[in-house]
Chain length 255, copies 2
């Protein structure tokens, strides 16, 4: 099922991205470079699987799934900039600014964000609510990043909630809405994704060997958040087993 | 009428912007600084007046009007960055990066773009089409900017069309759609705004004393584009006199 979902994601990303010949060609090329191919695509998988769990079809959510991946990738392009994390590599390749220059990287990120909303607006139903969820995540992820780079003591729960969990929540809620889920399904999937996002972030800290809470406490938090994510899947109208499998696969994952 | 429209724009911008106490406070403050108050607000005025010309009410278009102003202001914040135009001043005050730092300015622009789509999604009808128009303009403005900063010979018509006219067109079309205009009204207003945007850009060149077409030819183009904008207003179902007045006021305007 995961391979079928990934095929939907890649096909839809390819469809909404500008063609190689679209002007200016360097923008199209750099946007495709930024989004890449064959990544893990965790957020779009959550989106498609949430449509199914809410009682719809994975295909219903293919445009919102592309949208959340575009939004995620724009944030990576901007995070890597010299004025931000100053990273010259991403996924074993030069980062976008290292390859295309700083001005182009700012603009590529900007265009990817606009394209994310173009994709979200192509959802088959509930477009207004879907766009509003994506926009809330788009503001939230910046709130988290500003808090993260600010001087002084950091508010870790605020940062994790916004920098990481907001995109997971938007993915799940947009999927549920695109799949025609009712409000109860939408809120169950929001709770699932909030906890999945936190578990993902705590696990990331363990993989980096750098957790603000210490190793033992962080392992406990991964377990608790994963259990809460799984519990939130109870009583959904559709098949939630792909979402359960996704939650279980994140624990103890490799980078 | 212009004052009543401006009051709607400022009230709606204030409503959709994060409150002064919303966390992180420096993000909220910098976003409000970037958008300012009391500017000319040409694009949102076009949006409100287009709703009226299409047969609706100005209030119908207040969220799309705020959306286009937010999108416009994010592009200014990013254009001013050191990696782009490296401008330390804007509207007689320090530019956003000069006041809040480069990383914060990148993020403030990013958040303003997301907020623009949040506002667009609050339109009273035709939300999917309205968001799609704003997203197309969001991609288009980057296409124009990339072409503008690229080395080598520049394609001036492409740059003017995308860097300037795309936002004018999105303003008019979103307003027409929010006001319930039919497809004929929407396309008339798109033609109006394309020509108005070109006239605005040519006039800007004259004001800067720096036109790629030379003074005389540029003056001719201002007149022709203004005439084409006015001609496009024929046969609209609502009152198009505010749009006509706007087109006439741009010719020979001051900076």
């Amino acid at each position: 099922m995961k391979e079928a979902y990934l095929a939907i994601v890649e096909k839809t990303l390819d469809e909404v991205m500008p063609g190689a010949l679209e002007r200016p060609a360097e923008l199209s090329e750099a946007m495709r470079y930024a989004v890449g191919t064959g990544g893990k695509r965790i957020r779009p998988l959550i989106c498609l699987a949430s449509a199914v769990a809410a009682g719809g079809r994975a295909e219903d959510a293919r445009y919102p799934a592309a949208a959340i991946e575009l939004l995620h990738n724009y944030t990576l392009v901007h995070d890597d900039l010299p004025a931000m994390d100053n990273d010259t590599e991403r996924r074993g390749r030069p980062s976008v600014w290292a390859k295309y220059g700083e001005a182009n990287a700012i603009l590529v990120g900007d265009a990817l964000q606009a394209l994310a909303f173009k994709a979200a607006a192509m959802a088959p139903r509930n477009v207004g609510r879907i766009v509003a969820e994506l926009a809330a995540a788009g503001v939230g992820v910046v709130q988290g990043q500003i808090e993260d780079i600010a001087a002084g003591e950091k508010d870790i729960p605020f940062i994790y909630r916004h920098k990481t969990a907001d995109l997971f929540m938007a993915a799940a809620v947009m999927g549920a809405l695109a799949g025609g889920g009712d409000d109860r399904a939408v809120e169950s999937l929001r709770a699932y994704a909030l906890n999945l996002g936190l578990a993902f972030q705590f696990e990331d800290d363990l993989l980096d060997g750098d957790s603000p809470y210490g190793r033992e406490e962080t392992e406990r938090r991964v377990r608790d958040a994963t259990a809460a994510a799984l519990a939130a899947l109870e009583g959904l109208p559709g098949d939630s087993s792909p979402l359960a499998a996704l939650a279980q696969s994140l624990v103890g994952r490799k980078k």
